[in-house]
């Protein structure tokens, strides 16, 4: 337990975890990455470097479908790398879209993944192509620095300007947060771009992070009510924009959110951020930096499973945390202002922004940009990007918004969307429209079960049940992940399915429709057959006994079908 002295929690000297040791001796994230890249005999990098490469925006993965087979074949696993590019607020240009489209064909597996945190992911890049791929990303004026690793990750923000006049300003703020909290090490430039930025004898400095960076990943998101499409409460820091008469005043600050947990470790849990007060927009960056610094100083550096800000806050107590923050800031947060979130989903279709430009929200199944026999999604979007008549905005729901379109170009773009059948969610069930799935098998090293490759098939079967109970057009949030680390924010699904083993999931129910309430466990280790058998009667009850406009998750909770789940707490 953390000791409190003079109202201030005392910093603990943790015996460092293995990863802390790797960071310490890495010389600001260099490690032996250059030697690892130059070792031609293996497609892998050195074990310590697999930790460090995350800070450069990449994960080493294997094709898990082939792991057993290749072991028999006396081949090492089929190693490849995922690169995640940081796109603050998800706003990318048409040229950047073209660049990623080409990189995926040239070095990757010819697909792009739009992530739940508004980033691009390239998959399947083999080691000998990794540098060229990084350089290609850099040439597009994006980069992958701090897209993964124990630092502030991609900053999320509502990106559809058709939804609110302040979205543009907030997206810019997301960019400045991202810039401000970016690691300052020049290791990235040396390793990937062959640029030596440090003059002889000088070493890197990290004024905010220090040489061991943060104890764990750190996530920031901004949302503009009533849209919580970035799921702010699932972040270490969530900012809720407070807008009055079309003008942005500042933000309610929520702290300590996070999805991940570890099976069998009871001390781990998903947690929603607590709202701790309001800050005017001019002072918001200072508040963010100070929270990052507190987490740097107080976070658990012994056990990575307990190192997120949420555990720091629960350990020292949220009141003590706020006290500490205010002391360090030298000013107090104001009382939080009232806000109302209605949904955490995307808004599909055309919207006109106050600037007069058009924005169109598109449905992209699980964010995977790929050409399939039934849908030439990648080809179609590439053709639109080649027009250079819009920008490409990634949403927090693995979706896409084409933005800043003139009235003149609107028709051309709609024609192309029609030609390729892209983005039309009209014929889909409300369940499919709101579905999120993480990558999972076959590339994610952490997955216990399928997610992206399987959820569409499961939804086909669930749609049959929904139709039986006349629920096809009801919006229901379903989220599936291959493991409990929570990339797909499964603990915020009205129906959450979290992988336990191949073909087996834990079924969670009862989250709020606007990301304001976690779900609770309903049944562990269920197969597809069991999932269908368990949900069928619940759909039936919901269809028959719901109140007017009552959401599925709310109904589940009101009926007491699961234990009362945790809701967002407003501290002040």
């Amino acid at each position: 337990m953390t000791q409190i002295k003079n109202n201030i929690p005392q910093v603990i000297e943790w015996p460092p975890s293995e990863v802390e040791g790797i960071k310490t001796k890495s010389n600001f994230l260099r490690g032996s990455l250059i030697e690892s890249l130059e070792d031609e005999i293996t497609g892998a990098i050195a074990p310590d470097d697999t930790q460090l490469i995350k800070f450069h925006g990449s994960y080493q993965q294997t094709d898990r479908d082939l792991d057993d087979e290749r072991k028999r074949q006396k081949l090492e696993p089929l190693y490849s790398f995922m690169i995640r590019a940081r796109v603050p607020a998800g706003v990318a240009t048409a040229n950047q879209w073209v660049a990623f489209d080409e990189l995926s064909d040239k070095y990757g597996n010819s697909t792009l993944k739009l992530t739940t945190r508004q980033a691009f992911q390239l998959h399947g890049i083999v080691k000998r192509n990794l540098r060229q791929a990084m350089q290609g990303i850099n040439d597009s004026l994006l980069d992958s620095i701090a897209a993964c690793g124990d630092v502030n990750r991609n900053v999320m923000s509502t990106s559809n300007e058709g939804l609110s006049p302040v979205v543009g300003e907030i997206a810019e703020f997301a960019q400045s947060i991202s810039d401000h909290l970016l690691p300052k090490t020049t290791a990235y430039h040396e390793i990937w771009l062959n640029k030596k930025l440090l003059t002889e004898g000088k070493i890197d400095e990290e004024p905010i992070y220090g040489k061991t960076y943060l104890p764990r990943k750190f996530k920031i998101a901004i949302a503009v009510p009533p849209y919580n499409d970035t799921d702010v409460f699932a972040n270490d820091i969530g900012l809720i924009a407070i807008v009055e008469k079309g003008k942005l005043l500042g933000y309610n600050v929520a702290v300590g959110g996070g999805m991940g947990k570890t099976y069998g470790v009871a001390e781990t849990y998903p947690r929603l951020a607590d709202v701790i007060g309001f800050v005017a927009k001019e002072k918001a960056l200072q508040v963010l930096e100070e929270i990052v610094r507190i987490q740097r100083d107080y976070g658990n550096r012994e056990n990575r499973k307990l190192a997120r800000l949420k555990y720091t806050i629960d350990r020292i107590g949220v009141d003590a945390f706020v006290e500490l923050l205010q002391q360090r800031l030298g000013f107090e947060l104001e009382a939080s202002k009232s806000y109302q979130f209605d949904s955490n989903g995307d808004v599909f279709g055309w919207k006109k922004a106050s600037s007069g430009k058009w924005f169109v929200g598109l449905f992209i199944e699980h964010g995977r940009i790929v050409d399939s026999p039934s849908l030439s999604l990648k080809k179609g979007l590439r053709e639109i990007a080649d027009l250079n008549a819009c920008d490409f905005r990634l949403t927090g729901n693995q979706g896409l918004v084409l933005g800043n379109i003139t009235t003149k170009d609107k028709k051309t773009i709609q024609t192309l969307l029609d030609k390729y059948g892209i983005g039309t969610a009209q014929k889909m069930s409300g369940l499919r429209k709101h579905a999120i799935a993480c990558v999972a098998l076959n590339t994610c090293t952490m997955a216990f079960a399928e997610a992206e490759r399987y959820l569409p098939k499961l939804i086909e079967k669930l749609d049959v049940l929904l139709e039986k109970h006349s629920l096809t057009n009801d919006d229901i949030l379903i989220r599936m992940t291959g493991c409990p680390n929570g990339c797909g924010r499964p603990f915020l699904g009205e129906i959450g399915l979290v992988g336990r083993a191949l073909g087996k999931y834990n079924l969670y129910l009862g989250a709020g429709f606007s990301g304001n309430r976690l779900n609770s466990i309903f049944k562990e280790m269920v197969s597809e057959e069991e999932i269908l058998a368990l949900l069928d009667p619940l759909f039936e009850q919901y269809a028959q006994s719901r109140l007017e406009n009552e959401r599925f998750g709310d109904f589940i909770v009101r009926q007491g079908i699961v234990d009362a789940p945790k809701v967002v707490k407003v501290i002040r």
Partner: protein, 592 residues
């Protein structure tokens, strides 16, 4: 009271010992012992008198345990560490080994074994245990009747096949004749609470090793090798080495030489007696309008034509003498013209088989004439890919399947496709060792440079295994090449292990189709010219294995160039130098 009138059953000395033993016992104790002994006899068990006499000092002291650990999350390792510490405190010895590094063939030499293994997913073994888990269920494990064991199985009881891997080990060891000292001990995720108890109880199960017990299981050597050196070897394993997406088809084949007494040296080859493809035989017979069942004379026996062709006659190659003999049964003059022109004939015969020939010309001959015209099916020799110091009574091969399209039909190499397609594990095939004195490792302290692209890698696997096992101090440098890094890096995981262990000092690779311009092993040699030359100056021996026509020639040229540029020699001098190297066995080739 004493035992009397029994000397015809029990020799007098033993009787004396028995009397000594029981003289202090009470009446009740004697009655009990009588029942105990007759019970043992009735159950047909050997009375381990050692056990009876020594019960008092059979505590844990002096016990030597081998502890095999197959860990997923590290929990199994924690238990092993605990066990070994406790053993040490009790003056016993626990040798903790990871299953990943353990050879299944060593099991039969173990006396006391503790298996600590976790289970993950739906009853699957952890990665480190996969191989042993599989192999222990095969003949490889050998006869384990001398082994006492106990299994500690870790698992998560929320999964269906709780602790399944541990249970598998228990069952499989028992199946191989080992003695289970207890039922498998199943530990759940909360095992930490029982750590003390588990290790203490496990250690108690084992008795001290009798150091002077002679190995009574004398190896029954049944001589199964025929007078011409041919042995029927069982296929133990067959694996396609090329990964998904490869254009190549290279097999790793493991054969058993069990009880054959056959021995081979690194560098030797194995002759394999293949069998022709049945459909090719059928096509030939029907095209010639012969009868498959017709009996023909072959080696003073009468056998069916089909059998004769399939097992004893070469069909996939046509040689000049065969062609000449067959020409007697062809009426067309074209064939005779062809026979008069050697160059044209060679060109014609290249890649053609007997079926091509009888498709091209009209033959009229009897079954006997056909069999008499064809040559005997010779065995094919493959460079051996294993060292006996590593694999014991096994022999491993690296075989590239030969298949090519000609005359709108797939042609197949008889033996490589026999091995690839027509023989399965547990089936037997005829083999014979073929010595190759022209391809031998030098003294153990000499450095060696090995160049073996494609299946040319085979003897170098043998070389490296040999050098690893013999603790050779000589440096080793391997050059390997093929088409693609991801799918065609033959034995990659083994090379990585040898590199990590410091056995393989240098390894250079050339994958021809991973970049725009094609790169081959000879290019890599040239790139490393100065280092290669300094190895040569340090006495390195050079070995080349693989393609004769192109690769071996290019590699020789690369060395001539190295001698020229690095040694400052003229082209002629450099060529003479290479020749001198070949004569003194410092440059050896096994090319085909």
């Amino acid at each position: 009271m004493s035992i009397s009138n029994s000397t015809d059953v029990l020799p007098i000395q033993l009787l004396g010992k028995a009397n000594d033993l029981i003289k202090d016992l009470s009446k009740d104790q004697l009655i009990w012992l009588g029942g105990y002994l007759s019970g043992l006899a009735l159950n047909g068990q050997d009375i381990d008198t050692g056990e009876l006499v020594n019960e008092q000092r059979q505590l844990e002291s002096n016990v030597e345990l081998t502890v095999l650990v197959g860990s997923q999350s590290g929990n199994a390792k924690i238990i092993a560490k605990h066990l070994s510490e406790l053993a040490e405190a009790k003056n016993a010895k626990a040798n903790v080994l990871s299953m990943a590094d353990y050879k299944v063939k060593n099991l039969k030499d173990e006396k006391n074994l503790v298996v600590i293994v976790s289970t993950h997913g739906e009853g699957e073994p952890p990665a480190a245990a996969e191989d042993l888990h599989r192999l222990i269920d095969t003949k490889r494990a050998g006869n384990l009747s001398g082994l006492n064991f106990s299994v500690i199985a870790l698992g998560d009881s929320s999964y269906k096949n709780y602790c399944q891997t541990g249970i598998d080990f228990h069952e499989r060891l028992k199946k191989r004749g080992a003695t289970a000292l207890s039922e498998p001990l199943l530990l759940d995720v909360d095992f930490q609470d029982q750590l003390e108890e588990v290790t203490r109880e496990t250690l108690k199960l084992f008795k001290p090793t009798e150091s002077n017990i002679s190995d009574q299981t004398e190896k029954a050597t049944t001589n199964t090798v025929s007078s011409n050196g041919i042995y029927q070897a069982e296929v133990l394993d067959k694996v396609l080495l090329n990964g998904k997406g490869s254009a190549k088809e290279t097999y790793h084949i493991e054969l058993s030489l069990e009880d054959s007494g056959l021995e081979y040296q690194p560098g030797d080859a194995l002759e394999v007696f293949g069998v022709n493809d049945e459909s090719l035989v059928n096509d030939i017979i029907s095209k010639l309008e012969l009868n498959a069942d017709e009996l023909v004379d072959l080696k003073s026996e009468k056998i069916e034509l089909k059998t004769a062709l399939q097992h004893y006659r070469e069909l996939t190659l046509v040689t000049l003498p065969v062609m000449k003999k067959l020409s007697a049964y062809v009426t067309e003059p074209v064939l005779n013209t062809l026979l008069d022109n050697r160059d044209e004939l060679d060109k014609y015969l290249e890649g053609r088989d007997l079926l091509d020939l009888i498709n091209d010309f009209r033959f009229k001959l009897t079954a006997q004439q056909l069999v008499d015209s064809l040559r005997a099916l010779p065995p094919r020799a493959y460079s051996i890919a294993s060292s006996q110091s590593e694999v014991g009574d096994e022999v491993h091969l690296t075989v590239g399947a030969v298949r090519y399209e000609k005359n709108e039909r797939v042609h197949e190499g008889v033996c490589s496709t026999f091995l690839a397609d027509r023989i399965a594990t547990e089936e037997k095939l005829g083999v014979r060792i073929k010595q190759n004195e022209g391809f031998r490792l030098p003294e153990t302290d000499k450095p060696i440079i090995m160049i073996g692209p494609g299946t040319g890698i085979a003897p170098f696997r043998s070389f490296i295994q040999e050098r690893a096992e013999s603790g050779s101090k000589g440096q080793n440098w391997l050059f390997f090449g093929d088409q693609h890094f991801e799918s065609d890096f033959l034995y990659q995981s083994e090379w990585l292990k040898f590199r990590k262990n410091g056995i393989l000092n240098n390894i250079d690779i050339a994958f021809s189709r991973d970049q725009e311009e094609k790169v081959y092993v000879q290019n890599r040699l040239s790139e490393k010219a100065s280092e290669v030359y300094s190895w040569i100056k340090n006495g390195a021996y050079i070995y080349v294995c693989g393609d004769k026509d192109k690769m071996a020639k290019d590699v020789r040229e690369a060395f001539v160039e190295i001698f020229q540029k690095q040694g400052g020699l003229s082209k002629q001098e450099a060529e003479d130098e290479l020749l001198a190297f070949r004569k003194s066995n410092r440059y050896q080739e096994d090319v085909y």
